[in-house]
């Protein structure tokens, strides 16, 4: 792992979550392979990785849904696991699936889970009212949730997770399949919660969300934590390299070989439709890159130059595009 932030091995009194050496296997597949990270009070931590990287499995262990084959999870100083009860009072889980009851109204869904979290009486009623307003369902609180749009269901799904004001809010890809307006509303809600001091564990495969929301980010691929740090710390792993993306057809394999021989080029990765070329100074090298690729038999349809971002970090670390 390319570690850019030191001091994460031991927990401190500020740590809400400490995951240490987590391993989980499904038959011959090792879905999570020795992952460790921690989240401090009021911190938003992102797990960034493509689909199938192991993010949901990590979430399942952190929330005590499944047991780890090795390693430990500690929430608010208490050991988490499938049979644990006390540490679960501190977490609010927002699963990737819409974990709501279609035959219950929005208010009933919130009330049910609020009661299960231990709320009751006026505290429960007051909190349900607050959350309904927060997720923008005031006018639809008495409607059955099966009648809601996808975005409204997503917001209710999130509302249930934060109803009891958990110490740690766990959001597993909360914006998948959501329209842009609802997505923005969800991101704003998470930002607000972070401001209020809630620790957030946020998994996503959207680079923009991780960059916008997260104080620190763990880049995960194939069950391994590839790197961890703030956005700027991670970007520095690319040594300031730019990314030139060549989109086209023709002989991409020959173009790859030619481009790798150019002095300015650090790395070339590609797929059937595009080549991702990591270079020291893109504006100075792009003309030579285009000429060389064309000469090697690639028919270019588009050329993009991007400054270093989490996408290029992921590419740099794994040799794959984030959304492959």
């Amino acid at each position: 792992m390319a570690s850019v932030a030191a001091g994460h091995d031991g927990s401190t009194s500020d740590d809400v979550l400490v995951a240490a050496g987590l391993v989980r296997r499904f038959g011959d597949l090792t879905a999570v392979d020795g992952i460790s990270f921690r989240i401090g009070r009021g911190e938003t931590y992102g797990l960034l990785g493509p689909n199938g990287a192991g993010k949901t499995t990590i979430i399942s262990m952190v929330a005590g849904l499944i047991a780890a084959d090795a390693g430990t999870v500690t929430v608010a100083g208490q050991r988490m696991g499938p049979t644990a009860v006390e540490p679960k009072r501190h977490i609010g889980l927002v699963p990737q699936d819409l974990a709501i009851y279609p035959e219950l109204t929005a208010r009933e869904n919130l009330t049910l889970f609020g009661k299960l979290q231990g709320l009751s009486g006026a505290a429960l009623t007051g909190r349900v009212d607050e959350v309904i307003e927060l997720i923008g369902l005031t006018g639809r609180a008495k409607s059955l949730s099966k009648e809601f749009s996808g975005g409204m269901k997503r917001r209710l799904n999130i509302g249930i997770g934060l109803l009891h004001q958990p110490t740690l809010l766990i959001l597993d890809e909360p914006t998948v399949g959501v329209d842009p307006q609802s997505r923005n509303q969800i991101l704003e809600s998470v930002e607000q919660l972070a401001v209020e001091g809630m620790a957030v564990l946020y998994t996503t495969h959207y680079m923009e969300e991780a960059e916008r929301l997260c104080d620190r980010i763990g880049i995960i691929d194939s069950g391994l934590l590839q790197a961890e740090g703030t956005r700027d710390e991670l970007v520095r792993l690319t040594a300031g390299a730019d990314l030139v993306r060549l989109v086209g057809t023709g002989d991409l394999a020959a173009a790859t070989e030619v481009l790798r021989s150019l002095p300015a080029v650090q790395q070339v990765n590609g797929d059937r439709h595009a080549l991702h070329v990591t270079v020291t100074d893109a504006p100075a090298a792009v003309a030579q890159i285009v000429t060389s690729a064309t000469a090697a038999g690639m028919k270019l349809a588009d050329v993009e130059i991007t400054r270093p971002d989490l996408e290029s970090v992921f590419l740099h670390l794994t040799g794959k595009a984030l959304r492959d």
Binding site: E86, K88, Q117, L144
Partner: protein, 391 residues
């Protein structure tokens, strides 16, 4: 406990809103009871039609007249309405063929004399159009009367050969013809574990659909696994067993309510009394416990709602049919012993006991069978690997 009740309460609310439980646990079985009663009721409780018998009898033949009187005496017995209409011999066949009468009876001239002399005499029964069991009854009575008259004549002839006086011979003949039979056949009294056919239908259908009703709990559990709410429930601060227990409690409550309604409505409509309400209530609780235990097995083997529905249907139909939910099944030996372990059989048998006036004390065997069934099934469920655990 508070969380257990909260989950149960909200789950029941969803089941009621969903309406499928009302349809499949109450409306469908009641409708099926009515349909099955219409289809099978005629087989078990035949309706006897009014019957007219055209009788041709020789004038001044006392035995022939007595024969017709025996037929006439059937009127009003066991719901049979018999009218005997005198007719000339040549008209009997025509009347029967035309449907004017249902049965024709032709007693030949010299019938009485032939019997008294020990000679053969032939009585003809003519069946009309569309006649059924009524014609068979009339024929049986005629046959029986003829045999008695023959026996009396033979006894008198034997007495004559023995040198008895004519007055004594007449007395012997009279006695043989009119004496009560030394062998008698009477309608059996149903045993205390035997319900009437309609009662068995109501009890059997209630037992069968109980197995479907408790399935709503298991399908809810599998649905929650599929839709993700199970994961959210497992992230709540409560022991994992409360989730499954809440589903079992939902099944249990639905089973109790649905079975009580089915027995009450079915019993009222079909005029079947099941006896002591307390004993019936205890029996229902035991039957629902046995049925609910099956839910745990299905929850372990089914990964999807479809699989759960298929497994539940197979189990319910096999146990229901073997338990006599549609028609009585009788078997002896070890097969009979196995069938007796069926919860539907035990439930029906128990209702037979209560319907026959039995109380709690008489329900020992059915209650023990039902509770033992539940215990064994729960152990089996515990031993089966949970195929949905990794989801």
């Amino acid at each position: 406990m508070r969380q257990l009740w909260t989950m149960t309460q909200y789950d029941l609310r969803q089941r009621i809103r969903d309406k499928s439980v009302i349809i499949f646990a109450i409306i469908v079985p009641l409708a099926l009871m009515f349909v099955l009663d219409l289809v099978m009721g005629d087989l078990t409780n035949p309706e006897l039609e009014p019957t007219t018998v055209a009788a041709s009898v020789p004038v001044d033949d006392q035995l022939a007249t007595a024969l017709v009187d025996a037929v006439r005496a059937l009127d009003g017995n066991g719901g049979l309405a018999i009218t005997v209409q005198p007719a000339p011999a040549q008209a009997v066949h025509d009347l029967a063929r035309a449907g004017t009468v249902q049965v024709g009876l032709l007693v030949p001239d010299g019938f009485g004399a032939a019997l008294q002399q020990g000679r053969a005499a032939e009585v003809t029964i003519v069946s009309g159009e569309g006649t059924g069991i009524e014609q068979t009854i009339v024929a049986s009575v005629v046959e029986s009367a003829v045999e008695r008259f023959s026996a009396a004549a033979l006894a008198a002839a034997a007495g004559g050969a023995s040198g008895l006086a004519p007055a004594e011979l007449a007395a012997i003949g009279q006695e043989v013809a009119t004496a009560a039979p030394t062998l008698s056949l009477s309608e059996g009294v149903a045993s205390v574990e035997q319900l009437s056919s309609t009662g068995a239908l109501v009890a059997g259908q209630a037992g069968l659909f109980l197995l479907f009703t408790v399935g709503f709990g298991v399908t809810a559990l599998v649905t929650e696994r599929e839709q993700g709410t199970l994961g959210r429930l497992r992230s709540m601060p409560m022991p994992a067993w409360t989730i499954v227990t809440a589903k079992a409690l939902v099944s249990f409550i639905l089973g109790i309510v649905a079975t009580t309604i089915l027995l009450a409505v079915g019993g009222w409509f079909f005029e079947v009394g099941f006896g002591s309400p307390l004993a019936v209530a205890v029996l229902i609780v035991a039957a629902v416990t046995a049925a609910t235990s099956l839910m745990f097995v299905i929850a372990r083997v089914a990964r999807t709602v479809e699989q759960a529905n298929i497994a539940q249907s197979i189990i319910a139909l096999v146990l229901g049919i073997a338990g006599g939910a549609f028609f009585p099944i009788t078997a002896s030996g070890w097969i009979g012993s196995v069938l007796d372990l069926n919860p539907v059989s035990a439930f029906t048998r128990g209702l037979g006991i209560t319907a026959g006036g039995g109380g709690l004390a008489g329900l020992g065997t059915p209650l023990l069978t039902l509770l033992a069934f539940a215990a064994v099934v729960l152990v089996v469920a515990r031993l089966i690997p949970d195929r949905g655990a990794g989801q």
